[in-house]
């Protein structure tokens, strides 16, 4: 055994000691209190059968970036965000990562507490955790979100569904032994016994295999990667709010569902036979999630995104079809005068 070997062990041992000494300085009550200050209650669209109008978010920057799950709650121009101390802000959607069903919203607040979102290592099975979330909407105003305790029971790929649709994210998740699958919990923070953020509670999903409701969280590395990609535009699903001239996709042969809501999701109602869309195999019930790589959350957004294309630009549509994401190429955007004059069937 060399001197160097023992010295390295010694150094490691002290490092470990320091970590645990510093960890034991804070009580779990303090860690929950500290963590909860960085968790927000979100209120948006919904409130109908089985669709809650509230969820949870995690503050991840001093500039007011919040990570949460991509859901119908965010399908509103009026997303309200309430901090632990009762401060209330109107939040704006900054971007989404449809594959991880992750969204980033922003608030214009000052002196915001936040978790540093780093692509840290995953925690081991058996790690004790606290889950902090806006479950059942029981906390309002300056009331603190709910804390639950549990253990990471497994780290496995997510095989889950919502209704008949398979969840798009199929990477690893932490399976938890506590019931975190409750209304309002999605977007909640998973912290360890040192108070570090280790994951985010996922959407309310059932196991594809057994049909039981899954208690799980997106691990920190996936969360951080998704966040970084949304902010850098790498995910190419960043929304922009500047709409030029709206262009309805009917000229491509796509009839969207009627525009009934504030943000009607852009589902394809029907396809005009022999149209460009029909040739490119766009199908009824497809959900358009991106046009030319830009995320589209509503019918209006689809029209806006098409309107921004120049003649000759490729018309690339991304749709969700039976739980899978499908990219479709509809060829270059034709000149206005040469576009097919298509009318929907009566």
């Amino acid at each position: 055994m060399t001197w160097r070997f023992w010295m390295s062990r010694l150094a490691l041992w002290f490092a470990v000691l320091v970590i645990f000494e510093s960890a034991s300085a804070a009580s779990p009550e303090e860690m929950i209190a500290g963590g909860s200050r960085k968790v927000v209650k979100l209120y948006g669209a919904g409130g109908l059968r089985g669709l809650e109008a509230y969820q949870t978010g995690i503050l991840v920057s001093a500039e007011g970036h919040i990570v949460t799950v991509m859901s119908t709650v965010l399908d509103s121009d009026e997303i309200d965000c309430v901090l632990d101390d009762g401060r209330r802000y109107r939040a704006k959607l900054a971007g989404v990562d449809p594959r991880r069903e992750l969204a980033v919203i922003t608030i214009a607040g000052e002196d915001l507490p936040f978790f540093a979102l780093l692509e840290s290592d995953r925690v081991a099975i058996g790690t004790r955790i606290f889950a902090l979330s806006n479950l059942f909407g029981v906390a309002v105003g300056d009331e603190r979100v709910s804390a639950q305790h549990g253990v990471v029971s497994a780290v496995v790929p997510l095989e889950a569904r919502r209704g008949a649709y398979e969840a798009p994210y199929q990477g690893d998740v932490y399976v938890l032994d506590c019931t975190t699958n409750n209304p309002g919990s999605p977007g909640g923070a998973l912290i360890d016994y040192r108070g570090q953020l280790i994951g985010m509670l996922g959407k309310e999903l059932r196991s594809t295999a057994s049909g039981i409701w899954l208690n799980y969280a997106l691990p920190i590395d996936e969360l951080a990667r998704g966040y970084r990609e949304i902010l850098s535009g790498e995910s190419q699903f960043v929304t922009t709010n500047t709409i030029t001239a709206a262009l309805d996709p009917v000229f491509l042969g796509i009839i969207l569902v009627p525009d009934l809501l504030d943000k009607t999701p852009p589902f394809v109602e029907s396809i005009i036979p022999n149209s460009t869309a029909a040739q490119a195999c766009v199908q009824p019930d497809d959900l358009l999630i991106a046009v030319g790589g830009k995320a589209v959350a509503s019918r209006t957004a689809v029209q806006g995104a098409l309107g921004r294309l120049a003649e000759g630009d490729p018309v690339l549509l991304t749709v969700v079809r039976q739980g899978s994401i499908v990219d479709l190429d509809l060829g270059p955007l034709q000149k206005e005068e040469s576009r097919q004059k298509l009318l929907p069937a009566p």
Binding site: F20, R88, L135, T179
Partner: protein, 622 residues
């Protein structure tokens, strides 16, 4: 908190232990360190087992035959146990209760708080029941270790309670009334499993003290099984209501007589106020901003409801409001939420909470299914042998028998402070007012007379007292003092229609705080056309009298301050009289002479003077 801290330290210790073993070879001292840690862990484990074992002895498994059952917790050696209203409601007057000693005890209903979903029962057959203490639930923090001992799914057929452990998930939660009535205000939220059947059982802290009574859970898509979200009625709310529960009454919750709403700029403001309520008479008006209630700050409507929901009707609490930037402090008397007879109708099943009603936050409360009403179902004659004589029916009461028990207890306590029975002659008090002018009060069997710098007034003690509220402006000071003399001389039973009313905080600082045992007993008497309430402290000292000539007017409030110590019988040193917003006067007593109409001399008396030297002798006049 301590428990969770230790629990946490254990985890860290275990982690360190593992690492120590890993690095054991080069560092011998690490091995001894790990041994210490292991001992600490084992000791902690042992302590927790002991705490749970001791707490389990206080758990009550309540069986109500076909009507179901639930849980309860013993809180006194003579068998008082807390449970939920919704557990007792289907059970009726009498219950079979199993304890962890394997024995079954008969229990009788004592008091009901339907709005708070609480009821008090009494197990009979022992005077040495194991019991748990109520903790100060305001000291509970999110993250604290907690556990329950109860009878989920009625599994405890051998009466051994099921234990579930977890952490406190939230404090000061407000849960909307389920159906029409059961409201959980300022409750504790826990992730320890609370399932149907856990209702009425205790939520314990790491030291085995009761921080709440479980009774409700959030259910949603999985049916009526726990999803990590249960609620417990806080120990501090229970403490506020305990005296009322022991009074055998159907207890009502409080309203301010005003509703509040959040204004556009986020303040909590009065949105509606009844002109007949006490708060209005104290000066509260529409659009005033509520700053605090009962010394707790009000920042949301939920917070307001939380505070109000833990307070019994009839309590007076401080309220701070702001109007045009000016901060005003008042003390308001809370009134009952329900009209006369309304609670009785609810209890007897006339107005049953709706089943599975969707709540604003999609809650479904844990409530009994269709159940028989309490009143009329098991007539007293059908009670088991052991419970005979422990029930007395009276309108407005769950069980009037226990009211008489409490009334007797308080009367006995008053009697320990001095025997006034023989002092049937005039009681004469002389002294100085705040402005140093002199006063003289004479109370006798026939009249009350007061000499003040402003003149002399007299009240006939033999007739109705509501017609003469002398001296003017006092609201009935002489009448109140005459009734006080009668209470001390005759005791509560012959005074009039006297009941044990419940408890009130003796000082405002005592609100919900167990640290200071300052809840005082209150006797209520309907006598000589007036209503009056006597406040009696833990030592049997009568601390005050409130007299109402009518229910919607301000009472005359008489407070006795600093009674003479060590002297029997005791007389007050200072008498304060308040009427509405006005302080009528502060009377500094320099001499108190309690006359005795002796058959021979007619002039025997006991005199107390300020120096505390009691003299028994003749010559009562000053």
């Amino acid at each position: 908190m301590l428990g969770m801290q230790r629990y946490f330290e254990t985890i860290v210790s275990l982690a360190r232990l593992g690492l120590c073993l890993l690095f054991a070879a080069p560092f011998l001292h690490a091995t001894s360190q790990s041994a210490d840690d292991l001992d600490a862990v084992l000791e902690l484990q042992q302590r927790r087992s002991n705490t749970i074992r001791i707490a389990s002895q206080t758990a009550v498994a309540i069986f109500a035959g076909e009507a179901g059952g639930g849980s309860g917790v013993l809180i006194s050696p003579d068998g008082y146990a807390l449970t939920n209203f919704h557990v007792v409601q289907p059970a009726g007057l009498a219950m079979k209760c199993g304890l962890s000693d394997g024995r079954v005890y008969d229990a009788i209903l004592v008091g009901l708080d339907p709005t708070g979903d609480v009821s008090l029962i009494k197990l009979v057959g022992r005077t040495d029941f194991p019991f748990a203490e109520l903790a100060d639930s305001d000291l509970v923090e999110v993250g604290d270790f907690c556990f329950t001992a109860g009878n989920p799914f009625l599994l405890a057929t051998d009466f051994q309670p099921s234990i579930s452990a977890g952490i406190v998930s939230g404090t000061h939660r407000y849960q909307f009334p389920a159906g029409t009535i059961l409201e959980y205000a300022d409750c504790l939220q826990v992730d320890a499993a609370i399932n149907p059947g856990n209702s009425g059982g205790a939520l314990f802290d790491a030291n085995g003290r009761v921080i709440g009574v479980n009774g409700r859970a959030s259910f949603e898509k999985r049916g009526r099984v726990n999803v990590g979200v249960g609620y417990a009625i806080s120990a501090n709310q229970l403490r506020n209501f305990l005296g009322f529960l022991k009074s055998g009454q159907l207890i009502d919750h409080a309203t301010l007589g005003a509703t509040v709403a959040t204004s556009a700029d986020g303040r909590v403001v009065v949105s509606n106020i009844l002109e007949t309520c006490d708060a209005y008479r104290r000066g509260l008006r529409y659009d005033d901003e509520i700053v605090s209630l009962a010394d707790r700050s009000v920042r949301t409507v939920n917070a307001f409801k939380n505070i109000l929901g833990t307070l019994p009707a009839g309590w007076r609490v401080p309220l701070v409001y702001r109007r045009s930037g000016r901060r005003v402090e008042i003390v308001v008397r809370l009134v009952g939420v329900h009209a006369t007879g309304e609670l009785a109708a609810i209890v007897s099943g006339g107005d049953r909470p709706a089943e599975n009603r969707s709540e604003p936050n999609r809650e479904k409360s844990e409530e009994p299914q269709k159940s028989p009403p309490i009143h009329g179902t098991p007539p007293a004659a059908m009670l088991p042998e052991s419970l005979r004589g422990l029930y007395e029916e009276r309108s407005g009461f769950a069980n009037h028998y226990y009211n008489a028990v409490e009334r007797t207890r308080v009367a006995d306590q008053i009697a320990t402070r001095g025997m006034f029975k023989d002092h049937d002659g005039p009681w004469i008090f002389t002294g100085r007012l705040a402005n140093d002018e002199r006063f003289r009060i004479e109370l006798s069997n026939t009249s009350g007379i007061i000499d003040l710098p402003t003149g002399t007034t007299k009240v006939d003690a033999t007739g109705d007292l509501d017609a003469n509220l002398s001296p003017p402006g006092s609201g009935g000071m002489l009448a109140a003092l005459l009734l006080w003399r009668r209470l001390l001389r005759e005791g509560p039973v012959t005074l009039g229609r006297t009941t044990y009313w419940g408890t009130i905080p003796l000082s405002q600082a005592a609100l919900g705080r167990p640290a200071q045992p300052l809840l005082a007993d209150v006797l209520e008497a309907s006598v000589a056309a007036v209503e009056c309430r006597f406040t009696v402290d833990q030592q049997g000292g009568v601390m005050g009298v409130e007299l109402w000539p009518s229910s919607d007017a301000d009472p005359c409030e008489v407070r006795f301050i600093k009674p003479f110590s060590n002297d029997l019988p005791e007389m007050p040193q200072i008498i304060e009289v308040q009427h509405g917003n006005e302080r009528f006067g502060v009377f500094h007593v320099e001499s108190a002479v309690l006359g005795i109409m002796d058959a021979d001399t007619k002039n025997g008396s006991v005199e107390n003077t300020l120096d505390g030297d009691p003299r028994v002798g003749s010559g009562g006049d000053l």
